[in-house]
């Protein structure tokens, strides 16, 4: 992959260059279903490479390079693939200002999308990983892209990033899924990526209409609870989770208003994935009856 591989992910084309074997291996494992593109155009040109200097012989490291410029400090070499995932997310969230971008997972059923904004540790990705193998389509597990003119949600299906205990939970819950090797001792603990379902990648050109905003929270042994949240409060909480709400000014406000106006908003507490998936299915079927 030294010359660069151009691939499409959602509405973006990315070009990845690397000579690092473990990046190439995980990439072929998780990105085999993505359409390859011809150059020369890419929205994001990224590279993973060992930093120059003597240190590479003592303690091998890796740099994420976005078009010639390294926005982050180097990481230990075994974190190269997670760094690619984080770096590509950074490219989207810092450079794609034509969307309002929320830090949230987003999944779809029957044309309507559920947005799951949540701080790390709330079980957002775990819930997302379970849903997308039980009838819901993955739009994104990390970046909710909102088109401004019609508040539609634009897919960016990429591998789902799991960490720590949720890796084994999901490996048991979705045994047929494909996972990258786990990497330990990252800033987020142990991480592994789960391949996006082929069907979600195939339908990456189909936007979804907003349906629900659900703020998930995993709590061991808790009984399932779905509590309505007033739209006004939900609006502010989603804005707090946005990457570029203030950068877009009035345009950001209008886009978010469009999404919240068409969404039912809930706080959601869960401890058992089966129950959580069933609760989401009830939301979807109620909507169908309306």
């Amino acid at each position: 992959m030294a010359d660069g591989v151009y691939f499409r992910t959602g509405t973006f084309i990315a070009c990845l260059r690397t000579r690092i074997e473990r990046v190439a291996a995980s990439f072929s494992l998780l990105y085999s279903d993505y359409p390859l593109q011809d150059g020369p155009y890419a929205d994001f040109h990224v590279e993973l490479a060992p930093p120059r200097g003597l240190r590479r012989w003592l303690r091998p490291q890796v740099d994420f390079i976005a078009d010639g410029h390294a926005p982050f400090a180097a990481l230990p070499a075994d974190q190269a693939f997670p760094m690619f995932e984080w770096g590509l997310n950074w490219c989207v969230s810092s450079q794609a200002q034509h969307y309002l971008i929320i830090h949230a997972a987003v999944v779809e059923k029957n044309g309507r999308a559920a947005i799951l904004p949540a701080p790390p540790g709330s079980g957002k990705s775990t819930l997302c990983a379970a849903l997308i193998h039980h009838g819901w389509r993955l739009l994104s597990d990390e970046l909710t892209l909102i088109r401004r003119d019609d508040a539609a949600l634009i897919p960016l299906p990429r591998p789902v990033s799991l960490k720590n205990a949720s890796i084994d939970v999901i490996k048991r819950y979705v045994p047929h899924a494909t996972f990258s090797p786990s990497v330990t001792d990252t800033v987020k603990g142990t991480v592994a990526q789960m391949k996006a379902p082929a069907n979600s990648i195939e339908r990456a050109d189909q936007a979804a209409a907003p349906g629900w905003i659900v703020f998930p929270r995993y709590e061991a042994n808790a009984t399932l609870a779905l509590t309505p949240v007033p739209r006004s409060r939900a609006f502010m909480r989603v804005a707090d989770n946005a990457f570029n709400y203030t950068r877009l000014g009035a345009a950001g406000f209008e886009a978010l208003k469009g999404v919240v106006a068409h969404s039912d908003c809930y706080d959601f507490r869960y401890s058992v994935l089966d129950e959580a998936v069933a609760a989401f299915d009830r939301l979807a079927s109620q909507a169908g009856n309306r």
Partner: protein, 358 residues
């Protein structure tokens, strides 16, 4: 010689946007991103070649224009707020650089982003200005005693002041070059010539020639040049805007001498014509030649700025760009401080680095 980077060609002649290949558009977007010029290029494209914009690039232009619009609104708001604060102690608001271009509705404001607002205050009243801004919510963001002294004793500005709620930053200058620099342009002259703006009571900007000279002075004393091409494009737009004013070109050269800033004005005219094709009258270029450094220095500066002012992007790097930028960084420090003071300053920074504090 290598062909000019596509971004430079577009700034020089926006009509060439009609003839770009997809590979050119790809590079244009990347070079513009590296120099914070996406929004300016987007405006050029909308004006000169709206039908030729590559569909892949159009969304990036759209996003950059939204962000630029928001920047502009935020700058307008800050101008009003800072103006109120200064008015409470009877000081007029004299805007510098980007904020001044916005207030004056100059072409140089188009598609520009802003990191902070720069204002000019008479040195005798700088404490009053600081107190007024503090009462209105701004506070100094540098905390070490050394930094504070660095600014107050040696620099031409207060430590940057940040607003507690909006987090916006205002730089309060009493001069356009550090007190320790060898050129000492007289701020009183700049303030005396500052002009009022129609429809903006209480807001002043520098006279047209002074605006150009300050922009030149800033760029050619700048340490970090990653936004160098953006600043050169500002200069180009200012010169094109003012070119038709009666007596502008001769006033510019006379004022450069009066303010002891001949050299930066020479470089501004030289590099804006060379790189961006600014239409400077040949007689002015000839007359400005007397501001030039001796030939060996001039050749060296051509080699350094000719590289450092290009987009800081791998596609524009001939292998010497990083070295050129490093040498210009050293030059900028050299111009800011006499050698003894510079040695002291660098020793302090080095000691901090060793102790791991910075």
């Amino acid at each position: 010689m290598k062909a000019a980077p596509v971004l430079v060609r577009v700034l020089r002649d926006p009509e060439c946007l009609r003839r770009l290949s997809l590979a050119d558009w790809d590079l244009l977007l990347r070079q513009a991103r590296a120099t914070q010029l996406i929004a300016r290029v987007a405006l050029l494209a909308q004006h000169h070649a709206p039908d030729a914009i590559a569909p892949q690039v159009a969304p990036h232009f759209e996003g950059a224009l939204l962000v630029a619009q928001r920047h502009r609104e935020a700058v307008e708001w800050e101008i009003a707020q800072i103006g109120q604060a200064l008015d409470s102690v009877g000081l007029p608001l004299i805007l510098l650089k980007g904020a001044a271009y916005v207030a004056a509705e100059a072409p140089a404001a188009r598609g520009r982003s802003f990191a902070d607002i720069d204002i000019l205050v008479p040195r005798a009243r700088i404490n009053q200005a600081e107190a007024a801004l503090m009462l209105h919510g701004w506070a100094t963001s540098h905390h070490s005693a050394y930094d504070d002294r660095y600014y107050r004793a040696w620099m031409h500005e207060l430590p940057p002041m940040q607003h507690g709620r909006r987090m916006t930053v205002v730089d309060v200058h009493h001069a356009i070059l550090p007190t320790t620099a060898s050129s000492k342009p007289d701020s009183a002259k700049l303030i005396a010539a500052a002009r009022a703006l129609p429809g903006r009571p209480g807001v002043l900007v520098l006279a047209q020639v002074d605006m150009v000279i300050h922009s030149a002075c800033h760029l050619f004393h700048e340490e970090e040049l990653e936004k160098g091409l953006r600043d050169l494009s500002d200069l180009d737009l200012l010169l094109r805007e003012f070119a038709a004013l009666p007596g502008f070109w001769s006033d510019l050269l006379a004022r450069a001498s009066e303010l002891d800033l001949e050299r930066p004005v020479f470089y501004a005219l030289r590099f804006s014509t060379q790189l961006l094709g600014t239409p400077v009258p040949p007689a002015t270029l000839q007359a400005a030649a007397r501001f030039a450094p001796p030939a060996p220095t001039r050749r060296l500066m051509d080699a350094l700025y000719g590289r450092a002012l290009l987009p800081q992007h791998p596609s524009c790097d001939d292998g010497l760009a990083a070295l050129a930028r490093r040498l210009l960084f050293v030059r900028a420090h050299w111009l800011r401080m006499p050698p003894g003071l510079l040695a002291r300053h660098l020793a302090h920074k080095a000691a901090l680095a060793v102790r791991g504090e910075e």
